[in-house]
C-alpha cells in the first residue's frame, strides 16, 4: 500500500477493537450543530487526537488549541481523511454548538477534520473517564488541570497513545506517528534500511550511535 492509497483508504476497525463498549456511542453535537455518534461516526476505523477544553478557559486551553493548530498545519494532508482532532468540552452547559462555533472561528480553527464536540454532560463525563481515567480522579477532572494530555486513538490498529499537550511539537508529532496506520512490510523494510544507513554513518563519523539529532 503506498502513501496515497493509505490516505484515501477507509480503514476497517481492528477485529479486537472494543468499539462502543469502551468508547460509547453517545450522540454528540459538533460546532456545526450536526449530531454525531461518538464511536460510529468519530472513532470507527479512524485515527484521532482527543483533548478536553472549554470555550471560556483562559488558562492552558488557548495554548493547547494553538499547539493543535500547529500540528494541524503539519499534518494537513491527512486531516479530515484518516486523522481527526476532537476537542471535547468539559462544560457542556455553557458550550453550546453555537458557542463552540464562535470559539473555533475566532481562533481560525474551524477546519476540516477538527470537531469541537458538546453533548449530554453524563456522556461527556463517561467518555472523559473512559479515555483518560486510570481510576485517577486528577486527570482532566479538575478544571485547572484539564488539558494535561492528548489521547491519540487509532481504531484500525486498536491502539492508543498519549502525549502531553505541553510537550514540544516535534514530540507530539512523533507520538501521533506512533499510532499511524500499519505500514506494509516493504515500506517498513525501506524505512529500516534508511535508518540503518544513518546509524552507520553516525558510527563512522562519531564512533557511536547518536540517534538524536533528527
Amino acid at each position: 500500500m503506498d502513501r496515497r492509497e493509505m490516505l484515501t483508504r477507509v480503514f476497517e476497525p481492528h477485529p479486537a477493537s472494543p468499539g462502543v463498549t469502551r468508547y460509547t456511542n453517545a450522540v454528540l453535537r459538533n460546532q456545526n450543530n450536526e449530531a454525531v455518534k461518538f464511536y460510529d461516526d468519530l472513532i470507527r476505523g479512524k485515527q484521532c487526537v482527543v483533548n478536553f477544553m472549554y470555550a471560556e478557559c483562559h488558562g492552558s486551553c488557548p495554548a493547547v488549541t494553538q499547539t493543535l493548530k500547529t500540528i494541524y498545519r503539519q499534518l494537513k494532508d491527512r486531516m479530515g481523511r484518516d486523522l481527526f482532532f476532537y476537542s471535547m468540552t468539559i462544560k457542556p452547559d455553557e458550550d453550546t454548538p453555537a458557542a463552540l462555533k464562535h470559539y473555533a472561528e475566532s481562533r481560525n480553527v474551524d477546519l476540516p477534520g477538527w470537531y469541537f464536540l458538546t453533548g449530554d454532560p453524563y456522556d461527556l463525563e463517561t467518555i472523559r473517564f473512559r479515555l483518560f481515567g486510570m481510576d485517577h480522579p486528577g486527570f482532566d477532572s479538575d478544571l485547572t488541570l484539564h488539558t494535561s494530555y492528548l489521547r491519540i486513538i487509532n481504531d484500525a490498529r486498536n491502539s492508543w497513545g498519549m502525549a502531553q499537550a505541553f510537550a514540544t511539537n516535534a514530540n507530539i508529532l512523533r507520538r501521533i506517528a506512533w499510532q499511524d496506520p500499519p505500514k506494509s512490510y516493504a515500506e517498513r523494510v525501506i524505512e529500516s534500511r534508511a535508518r540503518q544507513a544513518v546509524i552507520e554513518q553516525e558510527v563512522k563519523k562519531y564512533g557511536y550511535r547518536r540517534d538524536s539529532m533528527s
Binding site: 479486537a16 472494543p18 463498549t21 469502551r22 492552558s60 495554548a63 494553538q66 499547539t67 493548530k69 500547529t70 473512559r130 481515567g133 486510570m134 481510576d135 485517577h136 486528577g138 486527570f139 482532566d140 479538575d142 485547572t144 488541570l145 494535561s148 494530555y149 486498536n158 491502539s159 497513545g161 498519549m162 502531553q164 505541553f166 510537550a167 514540544t168 511539537n169 516535534a170 514530540n171 512523533r174 507520538r175 506512533w178 500499519p182 512490510y185 517498513r188 529500516s192 562519531y206 564512533g207 557511536y208 550511535r209 547518536r210 540517534d211 538524536s212 539529532m213 533528527s214
Partner: protein, 472 residues
C-alpha cells in the same frame, strides 16, 4: 468487562540492569512491532571492562537481573499482561550449586530446589468502590500474586533457602514480614539488594534487628522488608529452626479480600487477607541436598569510588497533574523525548546525582537509572540529611524516594557510550512521561554537539513555538 488494560504488540526488551551497549538496552523509543525482530547483545560482564579487561571488575558482580518490556506509554500494560521475567547470572562466588568450590560462598543455590524467585504482582479481579474494573489503576490490584498464583503454598525442608524477591509492580509497594507459627515475626537475612551482593548480610526481624528494617515510614511495619516496584532483594530464610509440620507465612501489610477461611489454622494475629504465601516445613529427606554452611559474614568487597567529576540534580515532580523530571535549571520539567537527551556526560567520568522527591506530592517514586549500579552517599528527608538506611548502603539500581525524600548517589559512566534512561519505575508514572533520556558520549566534540542538541524544557520551548506561531 470495560477495560483500558490492553497490551500493545510492540516491544522493546530492557534487561534491568545489565551493563551493556545502548542499542541492546531496550530504550523506550526503540520498540518494534509484529513481523520484526531484534537481537540484543548481553555480554553478562562486570562493569569496568576498559580498566580491567577480560570480563571486567569482579568486585562489580551482579546476580538477580530481570527483563521486561519498556515500550513508551505501554510499559505498564505490557508488564501487567506478563512481558517480564527473571534473568539470573552466576559466577564463581555464586555458582548456582552448593558443592564446595574455589571462591564459592556456598549459599543455597540449586535453582528451583533451594533457590527460588518470588515475583510479586497485583492484579484486579473485582471492581473498585467506584465501579472501575481496569487491571490498571492507581488503587492497584485487589489480589496479590506470587509467581503467577494467589496465595501459593510451598513445601520447604529444614534447611536454608534463598528467595529472590522481585516486585514487578505495576505500581504498588509491598511490606513483607515472615510470620512464625507462634505469630511472631521471623528473621530474614538480606544478602543482595537489586542483584548486588551486600558486603555483609543484613538480618531483619522485629526484635534485635528491627533497626535494619526499611519499612520505617508510614505504614510502619516492624521487621518489614519494603519492596517497591522493580526492587529486588535476595533473602535467605533458615527453616532448620522449625520442626516438621510447622507452617510459616509470608505476610503483606495491605489486606486483600479472601472469601474463604484459611484451610489451615493461622498463627494468632494473622488475617488470611494478609497472607502472601505459605511455607510448610518437612524434614529433609535423604535425597534432598543437605543444609549449606552458615552464611558468610562477608559476601564481597566493593571497589573504592573514584573522584567526582560533576554534580547534577533530578527532581521528580507532579506539576499541574503532569509527571515530570526537572533539571537544576528547569522551571517546570521535562517529559520523555526519545530524540533529545536531557543530560550529557563524557564516557569514563563519575557523577554525583541528587535525586529529589521534595515536592509534597505524596507519591513514592522508585527511581531507576539504566546502565550501571550506583552507590548511595546520602539520604535526605525534607531536605535534612539522615543516615543511609542499612538496606540502601549497598549498590542498587532503584532508589526509592518516598514523599519528601531525596538521595545523593554516585555513579560511573564507563565502557560504553550511547543513550540511556532515568525514570520513575512506578509504571503508571513512567508511562505518563516521568522519564528522561541521558547520553554518554565518547569525546569532547560529541559532548559539545550533545549539549547543543539537549532537550529544552518543555514550557520554555512551547513559549518559543507559540511566539513563532503568533508572529507567523
Amino acid at each position: 468487562m470495560t477495560t483500558t488494560t490492553f497490551g500493545r504488540n510492540e516491544i522493546t526488551v530492557h534487561l534491568h540492569n545489565g551493563h551493556h551497549g545502548s542499542e541492546s538496552d531496550g530504550f523506550a523509543g526503540d520498540f518494534f512491532g509484529t513481523g520484526f525482530w531484534k537481537d540484543n547483545l548481553y555480554p553478562n560482564c562486570y562493569a569496568g571492562l576498559d580498566a580491567f579487561g577480560g570480563n571486567g571488575d569482579p568486585r562489580e558482580k551482579m546476580g538477580s537481573f530481570w527483563f521486561h518490556d519498556h515500550r513508551a506509554e505501554f510499559t505498564l500494560n505490557n508488564n501487567v499482561l506478563g512481558l517480564n521475567g527473571m534473568y539470573i547470572v552466576y559466577d564463581e562466588t555464586d555458582p548456582g550449586h552448593e558443592a564446595p568450590a574455589a571462591n564459592s560462598l556456598q549459599l543455597p543455590g540449586y535453582y528451583g530446589v533451594t533457590d527460588f524467585p518470588l515475583e510479586l504482582v497485583d492484579h484486579r479481579f473485582c471492581p473498585t468502590a467506584n465501579g472501575r474494573t481496569e487491571l490498571v489503576n492507581a488503587a492497584g490490584g485487589d489480589k496479590f500474586i506470587v509467581n503467577g498464583m494467589i496465595q501459593p503454598s510451598m513445601t520447604v525442608r529444614r534447611r536454608k533457602y534463598r528467595f529472590r524477591i522481585l516486585n514487578t509492580g505495576p505500581t504498588q509497594t509491598y511490606d513483607l514480614t515472615l510470620i512464625k507459627p507462634d505469630g511472631s515475626v521471623g528473621t530474614i537475612t538480606v544478602i543482595a539488594t537489586d542483584a548486588n551482593f551486600l558486603e555483609h548480610p543484613i538480618p531483619i526481624d522485629a526484635g534485635a534487628n528491627a533497626g535494619n528494617s526499611n519499612s520505617t515510614t508510614a505504614p510502619i511495619v516492624p521487621g518489614g522488608l519494603r519492596v517497591s516496584v522493580a526492587e529486588r532483594y535476595d533473602i535467605i530464610i533458615d527453616f532448620a529452626q522449625f520442626k516438621s509440620g510447622d507452617k510459616l507465612y509470608l505476610k503483606e501489610n495491605r489486606t486483600m479480600f479472601v472469601g474463604n477461611p484459611s484451610p489451615d489454622p493461622l498463627p494468632s494475629g494473622l488475617n488470611i487477607g494478609n497472607v502472601l504465601m505459605q511455607f510448610k516445613v518437612v524434614n529433609t529427606e535423604p535425597w534432598f541436598p543437605a543444609d549449606t554452611p552458615p552464611i558468610p559474614a562477608t559476601l564481597c568487597t566493593y571497589p573504592p569510588l573514584p573522584a567526582t567529576d560533576n554534580t547534577w540534580e533530578w527532581q521528580f515532580v507532579l506539576v499541574g497533574g503532569r509527571f515530570r523530571v526537572k533539571r537544576p535549571f528547569d522551571t517546570v520539567g521535562c517529559t520523555f523525548d526519545p530524540d533529545h537527551s536531557a543530560h550529557c556526560m563524557l564516557q569514563g567520568t563519575t557523577e554525583e546525582w541528587l535525586l529529589n522527591n521534595n515536592i509534597a506530592s505524596g507519591w513514592t517514586h522508585p527511581v531507576h537509572i539504566h546502565f550501571e549500579e550506583f552507590r548511595t552517599l546520602k539520604r535526605f528527608v525534607n531536605g535534612v540529611e539522615v543516615p543511609v538506611p542499612p538496606l540502601m548502603s549497598g549498590r542498587k539500581d532503584v532508589s526509592r524516594l518516598e514523599a519528601g525524600q531525596g538521595a545523593l548517589i554516585k555513579m560511573q559512566f564507563r565502557d560504553y557510550s550511547g543513550r540511556y534512561l532515568i525514570h520513575c519505575h512506578n509504571m503508571a508514572h513512567e508511562d505518563n512521561f516521568m522519564m528522561v533520556r541521558w547520553d554518554i558520549v565518547p569525546d569532547q566534540a560529541s559532548l559539545d554537539a550533545c549539549i547543543a542538541n539537549q532537550q529544552i524544557c518543555e514550557l520554555e520551548m512551547k513559549a518559543k513555538e507559540l511566539f513563532r506561531e503568533e508572529v507567523a
